[in-house]
Symmetry: C2
Subunit: 347 residues, 2 copies
């Protein structure tokens, strides 16, 4: 038995309490400053307000001011913040964790630099830790896993990544169940890039659903066009993984699986459909009541990095026609006009 | 304007009449001996009995005994037979085509040999042509394209493959439209393998749908498990393409797109769901009224080739856990028991 402390009681952090607790570990769920009500409700009812199923019995709940108590004696810390919590996690949470407790983060994203590099959140946090002289071991989770399906015990395959394989094996031994299967990789940039890249591409697939609804009515689904975008997406993702120095089949397949699951997931899909039907990005956002599209921020960042690399002569714009169009839609508010012929090749 | 003769009036052959005719070509649709009624109905009504939309005006229809008239003066021949028509096409049709008319086949499949090789239908036909001293130029279509969606003008991306790029460019100039986009590749083995391999893997994804229906009821769809299989499928397909000497990103992405569309297509999906719910393959076939599962034959052939290559020390069984399980289900009539943990890796 180990002590697993999850910091961030959003859906994904909270969903990880299921395999963690069902493995017989002590599990402590700590809310961020934004999770106060979630912790109150979970404490009172034994259920996360967004889940259809009770938490496993015996979970312990902590408000943010009780975080130090939760961290004390932990065998691992799961970072469950959204990408909007990245700074708070790096500035407030990580410094409070003793160096010997490994950290496993679920936050997906990439950060672009002025010279066209794409950094993982682990890279950003590592800079902060280095400045503090802290020796925490940072790890991350990638791969196709939606929280509500993990809660439902749908079979799930993810990858834990980090620099130290022994630490990764320990984390797997604590977390893996008969429905939560864990690959291990020391290629942090590869796994984190693969799972961050998929968001813009999932939007691309969803565009075709909206385009079809506009052309044929809402009830008729077509998959030729979805499949065409999917194939092109895998191709562009592979090229970006190459750029990241991580163009392995393992990484690409984690990304392809994550793309597949994201095509069916919530908001990215919905935005793509609205855009495909003919709205511009402002209208689509308004339709969604200004919901912030965390996932699409990554697409814009990656596009920005690509454009810098094109200027530097490192990348070729013709290799990324799909992402460039997604970026035009998001950044320049252009109408959807998928460059189908640009996806063809001669080989 | 060119003259396009389509031999085989099944759904895919007939669907290609749409882009061909809408491009202003003369299009001649020739039935096989099994298509007599389709040709009669199409001639009388202007509509294929399985389509929801009329053929473009001006199509010309031919029964099989009129084939020679249809072939005469053609600029290209499209082979539209199913995999059950492969022998007939090679023995009867190809010898009747003058060497200067290029042939473009839609038939997807692979053929295994006793020494573990996987041949394309073009390989098999080429042997027959060589024996006859004929110099026909054989080409094929791969990529994600279901017939009814092509008929509906959903945006579609396919790849034409053949040995001669100039011929391929000519075929594209005749066939490509603003909704039918065509890549060109001289890697026939790569394109044909990619699109044949996907069938067994599409069955794998569908298994999880049935498993979920059994566990959670028919209305609840889950995508974590589908995505896990999808990622593993792309990985195994890539390894098989490597084995075929065709492990390029272009080939893999044609295959990934084709896998995506096949997951949603007709019978393969239905069989997978029935198996996932708990039937064995005989029960599933009976439920489908003994429908012959053309697509799944390929999975068994590929598995057979892999096992021979494993004995020869060329391939490692551990690299294909998903296809091996699909083969167990189809060949040994085993119950579904997906080896989830075998999909995890350390990298």
């Amino acid at each position: 038995m180990a002590v697993v402390t999850i910091i961030g009681a959003g859906m994904m952090g909270s969903a990880l309490a299921f395999p963690a607790r069902e493995n017989g570990n002590e599990v402590r769920l700590v809310g961020t400053p934004l999770d106060r009500e979630i912790i109150d409700v979970s404490r009172a009812t034994g259920r996360h307000p967004k889940f259809k199923k009770d938490f496993p019995a015996g979970l312990k709940y902590y408000q943010v001011e009780e975080m130090a108590d939760a961290i004390a004696g932990s065998d691992m810390i799961i970072g469950g913040v959204s990408s909007f919590g990245v700074d708070w996690f790096g500035d407030v949470v990580l410094p409070a964790i003793p160096d010997e407790i490994p950290v496993l983060s679920v936050t997906k994203g990439l950060w672009d630099t002025e010279d066209g590099k794409l950094l993982t959140y682990l890279d950003l946090w590592q800079e902060k830790l280095d400045a503090l002289g802290k020796k925490l071991v940072l790890n991350a989770i990638g791969g196709p896993c939606t929280s509500y399906e993990l809660v439902a015990h749908d079979q799930t395959e993810v990858a834990f990544c980090g620099k130290n394989m022994e630490v990764l094996r320990k984390l797997k031994s604590i977390m893996a169940t008969d429905y939560y299967h864990v690959s291990l990789s020391t290629d942090v940039t590869g796994i984190e890039s693969a799972v961050a890249l998929k968001n813009g591409y999932a939007l691309g697939v969803a565009l075709t659903i909206g385009l079809n609804q506009k052309a044929f009515g809402n009830d008729e689904l077509h998959f030729n066009s979805q499949a065409a975008i999917f194939g092109q997406a895998v191709k562009e993702m592979s090229r970006l993984l190459e750029y990241q120095g991580s163009g392995t089949l393992d990484n690409l397949c984690v990304g392809a699986g994550d793309l597949y699951v994201t095509v069916y997931g919530g908001r990215t899909r919905l935005v793509g459909i609205l855009l495909g039907r003919g709205m511009n990005i402002d209208e689509a956002k308004a339709e969604l009541n200004g919901v912030t599209l965390e996932s699409l921020v990554v697409a814009v960042r990656v596009a920005r990095a690509i454009k810098i690399c094109v200027k530097k002569g490192i990348l070729d714009l013709k290799d990324f026609p799909l992402l460039m169009h997604v970026d035009e839609i998001l950044t320049d508010k252009k109408a959807v006009n998928i460059p189908w012929e640009a996806f063809t090749f001669e080989a």
